[in-house]
Amino acid sequence: MSLRMSFAVTFFLLSFSLSSLAQEAHVGNLTGNVKRGKALYQRYCIFCHGTYGDGRGESAPYLDPKPRDFTKATFKCRSTPSGSLPLDSDLYDTISRGIHATGMPSWKPLTRQERVDLVAYIKSFSPRFQEEKPATPVVIPPEPTTSPESVKRGAELFQTMNCWLCHGKEGRGNGPSASSLTDSKGNPITPFDLSSGAHFKCGDTDQGLFRDLTTGIDGTPMPSFSDALKPDQIWDVVHYIHTLRASNKSKPGQTQAEPKAE
């Protein structure tokens, strides 16, 4: 009896600690706490993302694109392959950076600890974070210097990979399929206007652009090119996209610093 009881106690404690472990978040040397994250969420995030994390907060009807539905655990900005859960650091980066041209601001005014706490709480909305592990993040090799040849190869790939069907022949977001596009919730979504020179949604570095092309932007029509193109070819496309940008503030082939929020 006492043996069975001690087994039960061990099992109970073990399963309890395992489930709470899965709800934690780790970024660098910081560990996020779900309880603290919940308090922060209810103060800062609930109006858009909603009480249940389903993206149906009070302000959601007025926003386009719609706030993320955390219960699906499908995230746009990741370092992991299409279909994979994001890393904790991916969610942390999105909270820190914000998503340009959407209602999602940068939360750098919060402390790093607070942002990691939020990551822990956001993960608690989907059971997937306890059932699955994020896949291995994509490798971003060093960027080769741009050249007219690289840009030309990129232009050809932009054509053959059918990028233009959505983004348009000149990258203006006006391709023949553009008006048909919806996100995975069925809401209309427009392809990014590559000629605008606006900040890219998941970070405005060449490495960020390489990552977006490799992982795809999950929950949107933008697919992953990880199996379709070799790394050198993806760099060619990055170099070509630079030539489409009207106010080309970043020099092609060079890494641009993350815009500072402070």
Partner: protein
């Protein structure tokens, strides 16, 4: 009092944990010798729907693959009002049986910028091979509610192999660059499902004896349901009649 409460919680946790393991131990598969079968037809009543032409002019590689204009496959009606692309499946009655996925993969082909077959059904964790036979680049993008959502660019000839971990009937599939493309992937945790052929006929084989809820799913007309008891070695006939406009 507090101690008794804690003991109660611990006991409950133990019972729950044991209960969770029981179905795994009771796993089994059908006795092939005693298996029955269900065959029949899915039909549509009152439909005047005709397939409509698809404009593929935005991508000449798609339009030139068709000698006559391609048509939609949302509703495909054969002779005697037989309805194609209907999934007939066991929705209830298999109890706690669990099933291993088959070794051979299910296949979905992109041909003439359409999905062939238009509706594909497979088991959880069974491999799905996606083939691009077209001279253009597609992106294959299933949009599940209960599975991982992924979206991959696929040039001609590139292999794509994926699988789905959870049952879901059915997952819409899109190619975002070719907006007319639409198909469905249905995922079952058992092997008792079949998709009706172009005449609306189906044959559900190797069904262990039992009482089942059999459902018929069609992308536009929804789901119909029937109860049926299959005896040892028995072959029964079923008919599902969808009503257009209902």
């Amino acid at each position: 009092m507090a101690t008794r409460y804690i003991l109660g919680v611990i006991t409950a946790a133990l019972v729950l944990s044991l209960a969770a393991y029981v179905p795994v131990g009771a796993a089994g598969s059908a006795d092939a010798g005693a298996a029955g079968s269900l065959s029949g037809t899915a039909k549509i009543e009152g439909a005047t729907l005709k397939p409509t032409r698809i404009d593929m002019s935005s991508d000449p590689n798609c339009s030139k693959a068709h000698s006559t204009p391609a048509t939609t496959e949302e509703v495909v009606i054969g002779p005697n009002n037989g309805l194609a692309n209907v999934i007939i499946y066991v929705a209830d009655g298999l109890g706690d049986r669990t099933f291993e996925p088959p070794q051979q993969p299910a296949v979905i082909e992109q041909k003439g910028c359409q999905y062939k077959p238009h509706v594909v059904a497979l088991q959880t964790n069974q491999k799905l091979n996606v083939v691009n036979s077209d001279d253009t680049t597609h992106n294959i993008h299933p949009m599940p509610n209960n599975n991982r959502e992924w979206n991959k660019t696929q040039p001609h000839g590139m292999p794509v192999e994926e699988s789905f971990a959870r049952e879901e009937i059915a997952i819409p599939v899109k190619c975002n660059v070719h907006p007319w493309m639409r198909g469905y992937i249905a995922v079952f945790k058992h092997p008792y499902f079949v998709v009706t052929d172009k005449d609306g006929n189906f044959d559900l084989k190797d069904l262990p004896p039992g009482t089942y809820t059999i459902k018929a799913w069609q992308e536009k007309f929804g789901t119909l349901s029937q109860k049926v008891t299959v005896g040892t070695g028995e072959s029964k006939t079923l008919e599902f009649v969808f009503k257009a406009g209902s």
